[in-house]
């Protein structure tokens, strides 16, 4: 069985001046490595908070989360080394070139081949000719490709993407979606994306709707129309 993250009866709430606001109650979810998940829902439903809980970066108000790695049960805190993030705003470091941005997580891990690996990944996302360009010299789509390369370069098992196409035009969004899904699939990384885009959400194997404090599955793998999956060049 592949590695997976499981949330059991998770609730999340926070206190304001006068009231306690509950985002969701008794939520259950399993994220398996190698599969894709989309979480949709209205603004303020708690999608970003759910993402933080799944990735182990925040503690739930109640409930339990576990990470099963090679059949060993671990806490979500131990998930840290196996996760990567992709953001709507790209969040590349402006003073670094594309190559250095991608190499960043490898450098942090002390990888001596950081630059070589970064180059390979930039090539995979179609930016071999832009390695020395800074983010300000790249288009939105190109920046997001760099961000995808950066998130995947250290081979995480789980990728969390927060509105990855939110800042892009239609054409770029489609390209990015293709790259994202393909790369995750080829690297056997789970992809959990939060999105308002139904088109993007439709491409995921599992689709959930977070609304009214409940998480409901709306699409399962059996519902997925494989004809919709666009094949791109190997990632």
């Amino acid at each position: 069985m592949s590695n997976y993250i499981e949330l059991k009866k998770i609730s999340q709430s926070f206190n304001t001046n006068d009231a306690t606001i509950t985002l969701f109650n008794d939520l259950n979810l399993v994220i398996s490595q190698g599969e894709s998940y989309a979480i949709t829902g209205p603004s303020g439903a708690g999608k970003s908070s759910l993402l933080m809980l799944i990735s182990g970066l925040e503690e739930p108000t109640s409930g339990q989360g576990i990470y099963v790695d090679a059949e060993q049960k671990k806490t979500l805190k131990e998930l840290r080394n196996d996760i990567g993030f992709i953001f709507q705003q790209f969040h590349l470091l402006p003073e670094l070139t594309a190559l250095n941005n991608v190499a960043l997580p490898l450098k942090l891990r002390g990888d001596k081949n950081a630059m070589a690996k970064a180059k390979v990944w930039l090539d995979k996302v179609g930016l071999a000719h832009r390695v020395d360009h800074k983010p300000s010299e790249l288009s939105g789509g190109e920046q997001q490709r760099v961000a995808i390369a950066r998130a995947l370069v250290f081979e995480p098992k789980f990728i969390f993407a927060d509105e990855p196409t939110g800042n892009l035009d239609q054409k770029s969004a489609t390209e990015i979606a293709n790259i994202l899904f393909t790369c995750c699939q080829e690297n056997n990384a789970a992809l959990v994306l939060v999105t308002h885009s139904e088109t993007l959400a439709a491409r995921a194997q599992h689709k959930y709707l977070l609304a009214d404090r409940q998480l409901n599955q709306t699409v399962s793998p059996s519902d997925l129309d494989t004809n919709n999956i666009v094949q791109v060049a190997s990632c």
């Binding site: 603004s43 303020g44 999608k47 970003s48 908070s49 993402l51 933080m52 990735s55 970066l57 925040e58 840290r80 080394n81 196996d82 996760i83 990567g84 993030f85 953001f87 709507q88 705003q89 969040h91 470091l93 003073e95 670094l96 250095n100 960043l104 997580p105 450098k107 942090l108 891990r109 002390g110 990888d111 001596k112 250290f154 995480p156 927060d162 509105e163 939110g166 939060v194």
Partner: protein, 827 residues
Amino acid sequence: MLSNNLKLAWHFYKQEYQSSHQRLLRWIQGILLLFIITLSQSSISIQEYLDHNLQSLLGADAVLSQKAELTPSQHTEVIEITDDMVITQHIKTTITHNGQWQQAKLKAVGEHYPLQGELLTSTALKEKGTPTFAAPKNGHIWLDARILASLSLNIGDHLQLANQQFLVSRILQHEPDRLMEGHTVDMRAMINLHDMKALNFSPDLIHYRYLLAATPAQVNNLIEWQENNLPAAEIRHKNGNHPLALFWQRTENFMGLASIILFFMAAIAVNQLTQVHMKKDQYFSAICMSLGASNSTGIQVSFFKWFIGLLLLLPVVLLLSACSHWLIVNWLQETFADMQWQWHAKSALVSISAVVTIFAVFHAPVWLSLRNNSVANLFADKSKGLSHWLSKASSIIVFSAVTITYSDNALLTMMMVAATLFTIILMILISWSTLTLGEKFTQNFSGLVPFSLFMMKQRLVSKSTQILGIGLCAFLLLFTLMLLKDLGATMSSYQRQHDGNVMISQATKPQMQFIETWANEQKIAVRQAKPYMYAKLIEINQQSLSKFSDKPSDSLATFSRAIRLHWSEQVPQNNKVIDGQWWQPNSENWQQVSIEEEVMTDLGLAIGDWLTFFIGQEETKFQITASHVFTPGAGSITFWVQMPPAALAHIQAPHYNMASIELNSQQWPLLANLWQKFPSLRMISLKEMTDLFDRMLAMITKVISGFSLMIILLAGVVILASINALESKEKKKNSIIMSFGFTRSTCLKLNIIEWLVTASITATGAILGTYFTGLLIYQSQFSLNYQPDFVWLIATLATILCLVTGLGIYASRSNLKSSVKQLMAET
């Protein structure tokens, strides 16, 4: 519209009051305003006091002093040149009473004293002095309050002075000509001229001072006459050559330098903050414009906010300045007894206007950047190219304006600017090479250090700016502290490690013979005894001293009076020859001298130079053939000028001795007998010498410590400002790092490593910059011999850097309060 914008500005001022960039700006403005207003108020107080009281302070238009009485013809000639003359005689003596003794400067005056100003005396200690127009009567003595207290005397008591009884009849409160004698803390006593004659002191021990009333033209004639007729005599006059002139010149130099340094540091801090202000005000202005407001709304709100901030700061600053000014005046009253605290409103207004103008220039780039602002900035970040350079330009403009305005010494200013530029270039080079090479050489290693170097290298420009700011602060602080330490050390160089606990600084031959016999009888050890004669330096290489140099110089100031000229066949055991050659035993060439190395350096003398001394009543020339330094371990008595004993045959002058004796606690009362027999014997205990030195050092320490405190405060602000400027970037960087799966502790470790690297680069730059500045400035501007103590430099620097690193890490802690969530869309 204007009033609306004003209300808006007030609203947003209150909103932003607690934000870090506003608080830091207030600190910078507050510190500078406080410094400038206090400085200008104190400066005016001193100037006014000097202008109004010069008459009273100096007691004469000019004073001619020497160790011999004017001959009748000389007396007549001086009277012809000047308008009026009053004779006074001085001798250092010891007054005894009931087994206690006290050294004092005894002054004898005649019926026409004082010439100018007021002599104030009283009959009770707490009584205010009243003007006194007559000299003490025969058999009467007037003492200053300190002697009364020291000898437990009261008005009406009698005391002994050289076997004569004197009645203590009045307390000396103020002598108008005291300051013309030079800065001295000697205790004072006054008797009638007739009594001085009756005391029958040896004539060569008495110092004659002639107080003269003269116009400036007459003073110039007098100076010319003195150079031709009495080369060994000393003239002090109101037109610059009085003790206060030297003190004031040095003070103004130092204050000018202080102002430049503080403004430069403020410029660094404001430059960092301007980026933050610019960004926030541009954002606000763009939002307003997207809601239909015009460009001018943003500019006006920004200006009014800034102005309101300054306006509300003023009352606090004025109050603190008034208190500081009052404290300074209080402290100066030790020297200028009648100085009163007074607030000079006009000067305060001028200072405030000048500083506010400077702050406006600092902030101008923010307002200029708003002129070209538009709603488009909300879509794309159009910073900041031109604005960035504008803020650098405004700093340079302010720095130049302050440099020109506040500097009274162009050479010193240029040197300081050169030293600062050198340090800037040095730090840029060190930053670039450390980060580039560091990153290159650690490429193949794993760990957080190589990563930190990699990140710092990638952000070279922003990191360099931060390093530069902090480095310059460290450099300025280190230089100031080094100057303080070395000033103290220079003073203490005159205080040698003492051998024996009583120093006899002047004993005639018969007195010395008596002392040696007496010491032998009383089993008192005479540690050292060295002979000397008094010699007044009048020319250096045929150039008179006044023409030789006009820069402040301790050595030249000392040479304005007669110094002690020692003779010795061999090199004294506590000296070492470091240049030239000591004379051979029995050398016939008697016109040789060895000079103390510090004096050589201070005056720019070299082996082979000729010095002309006035000894006895004749001029004698000596050639410098050697220079020596003091070496501890073989006695403390050492001399600036030494000659071969062969010279004695060619010079007619009284011989004296310096000696050092050791008394145990039971033997101290024996000194009273010695003084009763020889009241003109100059003896001082080690404790008294130490007290005198401690008082002077305390005064200098207070001034420089106050200034160092300002630098430390501003340095702290610079560090906080540089962290504040980079805060948003740092937070984002930390969030991104955490998104790669790393924890906050990793971010903290990276932060610590970055600060350590920053601190190391600033350390190297600061220490080299300080060394270079010392070389450049010490000798030429402060007459200090520069001998860097690298151990002290490094130790002090290590302390500064621990504090800088600690403060940097502590202040950066808010950068760690970031999270991945903050990068997400909906947050």
